[in-house]
């Protein structure tokens, strides 16, 4: 996708995107990322531009839009190529929308890599609960829409065990116009939860929604601007829900409160946690499974206590990918999570993703209620 170079506002860029001629056999998509930046280059310590540049991304200014050029190695030829993204940073929501026709694996190898490790930058993660919400909203807006394909996964570590062979990890890819019904059935029998869903909206097009916040126009049934407009609508629907979780996570805090006596000043750490509510009552074996999941996903839980009976697990956690330390306290219904130092939202968001993807897909987050 080669957008003519000129100064764009977001609106003028969207107009251009809606009518832009595309190379044959390419699919327009929007990959969305959560960031802690509200501007491209005005942040005090490190700006988004500097951060992306540090990861080898070349940046060209097109008014409010940035053209991002990222190197990757082509799977088939082994040669180095350049991936192009047209990115808009929304100053209010701090969402980075990357418009592109690059393949998903190319996105994963370029900007996706940054989301794995960079501080203050993460996928717009669409968890199973957000998929449920999207499904409802799509059907409200387009009553004749159908889910025609999905990929759904079950892990033996899931708190809610599969009815059928719960000890076996399962991934189901399903093609069929009865996707929604089939997903319900397969969820019930095999405990699988969606990671990718395709919706067919009659007379408009077919859309792929992936759990890493990438929405693709798979095929258009209308030659006008509508199919691409719906891409933006779908991103907007998903982002609204994900941003609620982000706001909750961002209520967490770590402060050192100075306490002055007559001759001394002590600083007492005050931890403000956030909470993950589990969708069902957990047992000791579940806490074992969770420890296993966390250690496989780049976390070390250390100096912890784990008690049987009514389950209790509390201790310290290191996030090796995002380089942060925090503390958790879990019982059979919820987990309280608090930063032990400055922890950017993306580290906690990654943690929330790991829990919902690998342990309790129906878990939800909330602010800690003062009793």
């Amino acid at each position: 996708m080669e957008i003519p170079p000129r100064e764009y506002t977001f609106e003028s860029f969207v107009d251009q995107f809606l009518t832009q001629e595309l190379t044959p056999f390419t699919r327009p998509k929007i990959a969305c990322f959560l960031t802690e930046f509200s501007t491209w280059d005005q942040e005090k310590i490190i700006s988004l531009e500097k951060m992306l540049a540090a990861y080898g991304i070349r940046i060209e200014r097109l008014g409010h839009i940035r053209r991002l050029l990222a190197r990757y190695v082509d799977k088939e030829t082994g040669t180095e190529k350049l991936a192009t993204f047209y990115a808009y940073l929304d100053p209010e929501s701090k969402l980075l929308l990357c418009f592109t026709v690059e393949k998903k694996w190319v996105i994963a190898q370029t900007i996706g890599q940054i989301a794995q490790t960079a501080s203050g930058f993460y996928y717009l993660f669409i968890g199973p609960r957000t998929f449920d919400l999207l499904k409802r909203k799509i059907l409200e807006e387009y009553p004749f829409a159908k889910c025609v394909y999905f990929t759904a996964t079950y892990r033996p570590e899931f708190a809610r065990k599969s009815e059928t062979r719960p000890e076996i990890k399962k991934t189901i890819m399903y093609h069929g116009e009865d996707g929604l019904k089939a997903l319900e059935e397969l969820e019930s029998y095999y405990g699988v939860r969606p990671r990718v869903m395709h919706f067919m909206i009659p007379d408009i097009g077919r859309y792929e929604i992936k759990n890493d916040g990438c929405v693709t126009l798979w095929s258009a049934e209308d030659t006008g601007v509508k199919p691409r407009k719906v891409l933006l609508t779908l991103i907007d629907m998903a982002a609204k829900d994900v941003l609620i979780s982000r706001r909750i996570i961002e209520t967490s805090n770590f402060q050192l409160i100075p306490i002055k006596t007559e001759r001394k000043t002590f600083e007492i750490p005050k931890l403000t946690p956030w909470v993950i509510n589990f969708s069902q009552e957990l047992r000791y074996a579940d806490s074992e499974a969770l420890l296993h999941v966390l250690s496989g996903k780049g976390y070390t839980v250390f100096n912890y206590t784990q008690v049987e009976g009514s389950l209790r697990l509390s201790g310290m956690v290191i996030d090796h990918n995002k380089h942060n330390v925090f503390t958790i306290d879990m019982d059979s219904h919820k987990m309280i999570i608090a930063p032990r130092g400055k922890v950017p939202f993306d580290s906690f968001f990654r943690f929330y993703r790991v829990i919902t993807e690998n342990f309790d897909p129906n878990a939800s987050c909330e602010e800690l209620k003062e009793e």
Partner: protein
């Protein structure tokens, strides 16, 4: 050997349970908490008597307005009730003798001190019975980790008598809250991940993890120095414990010494004599394995040491020799 390993594991587990309980209680009294707002009592320092070599009392609550101090000792489990109560009473007496030193630690004049023993709610009535029968001025709090609550165990109907005996608090609002039971909505999250008296294994694991985090993966080959450990201690517990700079330095040297002795750390600069110029490295350099490895080596080495000691003790007991040299000399004589 297996038995000894279990003993060491039990020791470290007990230390972590104690740390968990201290954090549970401390979370209730952080500045700005409901208790602080309603009574003015807030957490001011952890292990206030550590520097005075009085082992008991895990944290101090201070009401700055009237310079009233509450010292709390937490016991996550109780085996010998009589001994526990006697030990605490001795600590009470020691503390009262050291009031001036304690004032220096807190940096404030102290108008009154109240003492609290915080024990499992199940044991609290029996412990209170002991305290009452000996007429010791100790308030008994019972904690319930499942309900996530602490409660004052005292006779609400005889409040004046209890007040005179020092078994309820002088602050009516605090009594009211504690009689009702104070819930800890923050549970066991660790505002203090380590405290000065923490088990050396707990400290080594924590310091190791924080250092590995700071070194980050690409720099895993780099070593660290005395000053790095010192800074971690300063950051992790410097602002809310009574550790002086000298004590922090001593603890730092002890961490290094233990780490080297157990084979958890390597000295990369054996030719350098000054501790603060030496460079160290973890024997396992994969950041994700530091906690597990530190704990494993610590437990194994200590169990081995304990097992050796146990064999020698048995040998001494069975043979009557006080050391191996005496035994060898005797054997040569026989030959």
């Amino acid at each position: 050997m297996r038995k000894k390993t279990l003993t060491i594991i039990e020791e470290t587990e007990n230390d972590r349970k104690h740390l968990e309980l201290v954090n549970f209680c401390a979370n209730i009294f952080v500045p700005g908490s409901v208790v602080d707002e309603q009574t003015g009592y807030k957490l001011v320092v952890l292990e206030p008597l550590y520097t005075l070599n009085i082992k008991n009392f895990d944290f101090a609550l201070l009401r700055i307005e009237n310079a009233s101090l509450i010292l709390v000792e937490c016991k996550h489990s109780v085996s010998d009730i009589k001994k526990l109560v006697e030990d605490i009473f001795k600590a009470v007496q020691e503390t009262l003798k050291n009031q001036e030193n304690l004032e220096n630690v807190i940096g404030n004049a102290i108008s009154q001190i109240e003492f609290v023993l915080c024990v499992p709610a199940l044991n609290a009535p029996e412990i209170r019975e002991q305290v009452v029968s000996r007429d010791y001025p100790i308030c008994v709090w019972g904690f319930d980790l499942w309900k996530r609550e602490i409660r004052l165990f005292a006779d609400e109907k005889e409040i004046e008598k209890e007040l005179l005996s020092g078994r309820v608090h002088k602050d009516k609002n605090l009594n009211k809250l504690l009689f009702k039971g104070i819930k800890s909505h923050k549970g066991f999250i660790r505002l203090a991940p380590i405290i000065p008296s923490s088990h050396m294994c707990t400290i080594l694991v924590h310091v190791g993890e924080i250092l590995s985090l700071e070194m980050k993966v690409p720099h895993e080959y780099l070593g660290f120095q005395y000053s790095d450990i010192y800074n971690v201690l300063q950051r992790e517990m410097g602002s809310f414990t009574a550790l002086t700079d000298e004590e922090r330095a001593t603890l730092c040297a002890k961490i290094i010494e233990t780490g080297l002795r157990k084979g958890i750390l390597h000295d990369l600069t054996e030719d350098v004599k000054e501790l603060n110029r030496k460079v160290f490295q973890f024997s396992i350099r994969r950041p994700k394995a530091i906690a597990r490895n530190t704990e494993k080596i610590y437990v194994e080495r200590n169990a081995q040491k304990l097992a050796e000691k146990s064999v020698i003790d048995r040998f001494k007991k069975e043979t009557g020799f006080t050391n191996l040299t005496a035994f060898q000399t005797d054997e040569n004589k026989t030959k």
